[in-house]
Every structure is written in structure tokens, then in C-alpha cells.
């Protein structure tokens, strides 16, 4: 199979997965117990008022009809209204999505270069004290839940030392540097997990590449240590590393939800968790679908990176 063919096929699968996620989300949200119309109006209302609101919310229509209406709306950027506040979901969604992306990008920029560098160092000094320290450190960070890292950082750096604000609230007209400072603690929290994951894979990949015969050949040929690592080893490890970077970013979705709650950061994750408790369908749909889409796309990129880097995978048995 050719490379574009492979990518086309995987993209089709990704689109299908996305459709499944959308249907699952919509169906799932439908099944959440309780009547949204009743939730909005509260206890002391007439049946007539509830019935009227149900019609206004189009709850009287069949599920599939509403699903297609909603999907058509979403395709045009209309995400419906929040059932609780009555405000359109779109603008709030856009603002929070921007905040979440900012945090994720910040964390990725902080963690990825450092993780790959440390992974390289650990592989080069394999089994020495340096490697052992780095490995222990990365195993620890991979084991720590985000709320542990987050609360320790908060209590030491924000409460005791006062270097950073306790609440990572941001508002639209905040300056860039102010924002960087405000979001530093949540970004570090997220970086820990993602970075440790990438570090471990980088170390494992480089270690196994360094065991190959062509590395020994290069060594015997008298290639310098630096060129050995960068020109011979790293090049051949780029595929697996790119693959794991994409997977780690996909994994960040779990981390970002918890991190946003820890720091009360106004992003999509915190909004979604909040809306589940409040039964706010359109918000859950918009957040869930965007997280789902990110996850699927990153997984797709991970696959493509693996195939591009390793031509043998273009011919699956």
C-alpha cells in the first residue's frame, strides 16, 4: 500500500471513530436521568410550563431528529444554548477552548524538549548514576496523580513562598507575560506527566538503537560520540519518538481535566465536569466532542508518524 493510500484509509477510520463518538455522546447525554426542562424550571411549576419549555427546547422531537439538527448546527458553528444560563455555547466555548489550548501548548513547550534531552542523556549514560536518577525521577512523576503534583506545587510555591497566584484565573485582556506567570503552575503539573512518559520512551528507544550493529560499525569507524548520537541514533529513533509524543499529547486530555479543576482554570475540562453535574447537555456535547476529536486526531498523527518513519509498516501482513 502506498503512503498516501495508507493515510487516506486511516483518516477514514478516524472520521468513522469520530462519528461513533458523536453518536455515543449524544445518545449518552440523552440517557442522563432527569428531564432538562424540569431541572431548569425547578420544583414549583405547572405541567403546562414544563410542556411548553420542552417544546421550546425541542425535547418533544425524536432523538435522531435532534441529533441531525444539532450536528448540522455544529457544522456551521452553532453549538446551541446552555440549558442553565440560556447563553449561546459558542462564544464561551471559543474562549475556554483557547485557554485549554494555551495551557496544553505551554505544557508541551515546557516538557517535550526537556524530556527528549533527558531521555537521550539517560540512554547515553545507561545504568550509571545519572541514568538511575533520571529513571527514578521519571517513574515517580509518571506515578503521581495530577492533583498530588498540583497541590504540592500550590502549597509550596504559591502559599508558602508566594511566587505564584493560588488561583490560575485568566481574563481575556490579560497581557501575555502575566498569563504565562499565572499559568505556570498548571503547566508544570501537566508537563510532569507528559514529559515523564516521553522521557521513558525516548530512553528505551535510543537504548535499543544503540545496541544495533550499525552503531557498533560507526563506533569502530571512529565517528565522534556527538555525531554518533545525533546522526546515527537519533535519526533512527525519530519515528518512535514522534509516535509517543502524539500519544502523550492525547494522554494529556485526562491530565488537563484534572489540572484545570485543581487550579480552577477556566478551560474546557473544568467546564465539562461542571456541566455533567448540572446536566447541561449542549455544553457536555461541545466539550466531549472536542476532546474526542483531539484524541482521535492525535492518535491518527501517531500512526502516520510511525508509518512514515518505518516503511516496513506500509505492508502489513
Amino acid at each position: 500500500m502506498t503512503l498516501p493510500g495508507m493515510i487516506a484509509r486511516r483518516s477514514m477510520e478516524a472520521v468513522a471513530t469520530l462519528a461513533i463518538i458523536a453518536a455515543l455522546l449524544f445518545g449518552g447525554v440523552e440517557l442522563i436521568p432527569g428531564d432538562p426542562a424540569r431541572t431548569i424550571l425547578g420544583q414549583n411549576v405547572t405541567e403546562e410550563a414544563v410542556a411548553n419549555l420542552r417544546i421550546a427546547l425541542r425535547l418533544d422531537q425524536p432523538v435522531y431528529q435532534r441529533f441531525f439538527d444539532w450536528a448540522a448546527g455544529a457544522a456551521h458553528g452553532d453549538l446551541g444554548k446552555s440549558l442553565l444560563s440560556g447563553r449561546p455555547v459558542g462564544p464561551d466555548f471559543a474562549w475556554r477552548a483557547k485557554n485549554t489550548l494555551f495551557l496544553a501548548g505551554y505544557a508541551a513547550l515546557l516538557s517535550l524538549p526537556l524530556a527528549i534531552a533527558l531521555g537521550l542523556i539517560a540512554a547515553l549514560y545507561r545504568d550509571r548514576l545519572m541514568d538511575r536518577t533520571i529513571s527514578l525521577f521519571s517513574l515517580a512523576t509518571i506515578s503521581f496523580p495530577e492533583f498530588f503534583v498540583g497541590y504540592v506545587l500550590l502549597s509550596v510555591l504559591a502559599m508558602d513562598l508566594g511566587w505564584f497566584p493560588v488561583l490560575s484565573t485568566v481574563d481575556p485582556d490579560m497581557g501575555f507575560w502575566e498569563r504565562l506567570h499565572r499559568c505556570f503552575l498548571p503547566a508544570v503539573t501537566l508537563s510532569c506527566l507528559v514529559g515523564a512518559y516521553v522521557l521513558r520512551i525516548t530512553r528505551a528507544t535510543i537504548t535499543s538503537v544503540l545496541e544495533r550493529p550499525y552503531i557498533e560499525m560507526a563506533e569502530l569507524k571512529g565517528v565522534s560520540r556527538l555525531s554518533l548520537v545525533f546522526r546515527h541514533a537519533l535519526i533512527n529513533a525519530i519515528g518512535p519518538i514522534a509516535n509517543v509524543v502524539a500519544l502523550a499529547l492525547a494522554y494529556m486530555i485526562v491530565g488537563i481535566v484534572v489540572t484545570e479543576v485543581v487550579f480552577t482554570y477556566p478551560g474546557l475540562g473544568q467546564w465539562m465536569v461542571d456541566s455533567v453535574a448540572k446536566h447541561d447537555m449542549n455544553v457536555i456535547l461541545a466539550c466531549g466532542l472536542s476532546f474526542g476529536a483531539t484524541y482521535v486526531v492525535l492518535n491518527l498523527l501517531a500512526d502516520v508518524a510511525a508509518v512514515v518513519a518505518n516503511p516496513r509498516m506500509r505492508h502489513p501482513r
Binding site: 477510520e13 471513530t17 461513533i20 463518538i21 455515543l24 455522546l25 449518552g28 447525554v29 440517557l31 442522563i32 436521568p33 529513571s135 527514578l136 521519571s138 517513574l139 515517580a140 509518571i142 506515578s143 503521581f144 496523580p145 495530577e146 492533583f147 498530588f148 497541590y151 504540592v152 500550590l154 502549597s155 502559599m159 508558602d160 493560588v166 515523564a196 512518559y197 521513558r200 520512551i201 528505551a204 537504548t207 535499543s208 500519544l247 492525547a250 494522554y251 486530555i253 485526562v254 481535566v257 484534572v258 479543576v261 485543581v262 465539562m272 465536569v273 455533567v276 453535574a277 457536555i284 466531549g288 476532546f291 474526542g292 484524541y295 482521535v296 492518535n299
Partner: protein, 272 residues
């Protein structure tokens, strides 16, 4: 050098044993004065309440021991169940091959293509968070990973020369599985079991922390972090105590899994 190499594993094993004994002994092991004495909300570490008190003035240590029971029992249950499911189906796919293998593998691909947290949040929102729901969600999310590992391992080992030799000798399938395949798969499988436990522990605690896990009156470690989180605003360490216990248990189990994997020459991937 070997002693140094094994040190983190030994420390982890001792720590885990201590946690297990403490949690099994349960809140009854704590002196009654400490357990039943209601203090002020969020007292600090002190002689009566060693780890301080929670948001309602209950002893944090007693509460930790109580919460540990449900948290660790659930994580263990999920790890064992998803392991049983993954192992059974994985072996089935590897041995039968053909349509069964294709069907199971496709199913696993689809499950793994869905974002785990979104799925969990949705199911919990739909069905309400109860212990059976949590266990089922986690088993569905985790068993595909065990399935993939078992299938790959079994296929790899089944093509080894010693298996072919046993086959030519006329040994039955069960004999081959028990005597040739199982001993060669034990280390990676035990390591995988440990990783599943860590994943279940962290995922469950995260859900409880978000208010979507073990339902409230029941104490559990993730829920305790959530309940005590406001204390941090007053500079009090109450939420860090249960969070640190979760972190410590997860690290210890990971450490042991990592040691097993290195000892057997295979490379671990951490959680995920």
C-alpha cells in the same frame, strides 16, 4: 552494585506491605480516642490526631485507613478482572486466529480509539456513579491493553522452536500452554498486572477527585482529596495527605513492575 540496584524495589515492597497491613487492620487499629474524638476542622499534625483532621473534624488517619479499603479493593478487583478478560480473549484470538481474531482485534481497536476519560465521564453521568458502574467502565477501558499484550506474547511464543518441538512430540494444546507458553510469559504478564493496578488506582482516584467516582458518604482516597481541597486555601496540608498516599502506592507498584521488567530484560512503558 546489585544491592543498590534492588534498593528502590525493596523499599517499595516494604512500603506496600505496611500499607496493606494498615489498611487490612482498618480504622479499628487506631486508638479509640483518636478515631472517635471529633476535633476542629482541619487541625494540623498533632499528638492526638497524628495526621490532623478532615473538613468535619474527623481523624484523617482513621479516615485514610477506611478509605484505603475501598480504593485498594476496587483497584485490585479491576486489575484482576480486566486481566482475566484480556487473558482469556487474547489467548482465544491467538490460538483460534481467523475470524475470531479479526473480530476481537477490531473490537479492541474501536475501544482504544475512544478517549478514556470522556467515556468514563459520560457513563458515570448516564448511569450515576456507583461501584458496579465504576468497575465495569474501568474493566472495559483496561482489558483491551491486556488483550493486545497477551495476543502478541502468545503469537510470539507459539512460533518458537521449543513449541514446535512439543507439537511434533504430539503434546496437547493445554499442555503446551501450561508447560511451554505460560512460564515464558509470566514476567511480562505480572508486570502488566501491576501496571493495570496502577492505572486503575490513578484513574479511579481522578474520577473521585472530580466528584464522579466512589459516591460521597463512602470514604475513598480520591474523594478525600476533593473534600479537603478547600483547606489548602488556608495553607493547611489536609488534601495533600491522601494525595500523597495515592502517589506513594502508585510509585511503589510501578517501581516493582519496573524492576521485574528490567530483571527479565524487557522494557517497560510506565502507565498508560
Amino acid at each position: 552494585m546489585t544491592a543498590l540496584r534492588n534498593l528502590p524495589m525493596l523499599v517499595s515492597a516494604i512500603l506496600l506491605a505496611l500499607v496493606a497491613i494498615a489498611v487490612l487492620a482498618g480504622p479499628d487499629a487506631v486508638p479509640a480516642a483518636m478515631r472517635d474524638g471529633i476535633g476542629d476542622p482541619w487541625e494540623g499534625f498533632g499528638p492526638l490526631h497524628l495526621l490532623g483532621t478532615d473538613q468535619l473534624g474527623r481523624d484523617l488517619l482513621a479516615r485514610l485507613l477506611e478509605g484505603g479499603r475501598i480504593t485498594l479493593a476496587l483497584a485490585t478487583m479491576v486489575a484482576v478482572l480486566c486481566f482475566a478478560v484480556g487473558l482469556g480473549l487474547g489467548l482465544l484470538a491467538a490460538i483460534l486466529g481467523g475470524a475470531v481474531d479479526t473480530l476481537l482485534s477490531r473490537l479492541v481497536d474501536v475501544t482504544m480509539a475512544l478517549p478514556p476519560l470522556i467515556l468514563a465521564i459520560l457513563v458515570v453521568a448516564m448511569l450515576g456513579s456507583s461501584i458496579p458502574v465504576l468497575v465495569i467502565v474501568l474493566v472495559v477501558l483496561e482489558s483491551p491493553r491486556v488483550f493486545r499484550l497477551v495476543r502478541a506474547l502468545a503469537m510470539e511464543i507459539m512460533t518458537e522452536d521449543f513449541v514446535t518441538a512439543a507439537r511434533l512430540r504430539g503434546e496437547g494444546l493445554l499442555w503446551i500452554l501450561a508447560r511451554e507458553v505460560a512460564p515464558n510469559a509470566v514476567v511480562p504478564l505480572v508486570a502488566e498486572l501491576a501496571l493495570r493496578f496502577v492505572f486503575a488506582l490513578l484513574f479511579l482516584s481522578s474520577l473521585s477527585f472530580l466528584g464522579l467516582g466512589v459516591p460521597p458518604p463512602q470514604a475513598d482516597w480520591g474523594g478525600m482529596v476533593r473534600e479537603n481541597a478547600p483547606a489548602l486555601g488556608f495553607g493547611l496540608p489536609a488534601p495533600i495527605v491522601p494525595a500523597a498516599v495515592i502517589a506513594l502506592v502508585a510509585l511503589s507498584v510501578n517501581q516493582i513492575a519496573d524492576w521485574l521488567v528490567t530483571a527479565s530484560g524487557r522494557r517497560g512503558m510506565g502507565r498508560g
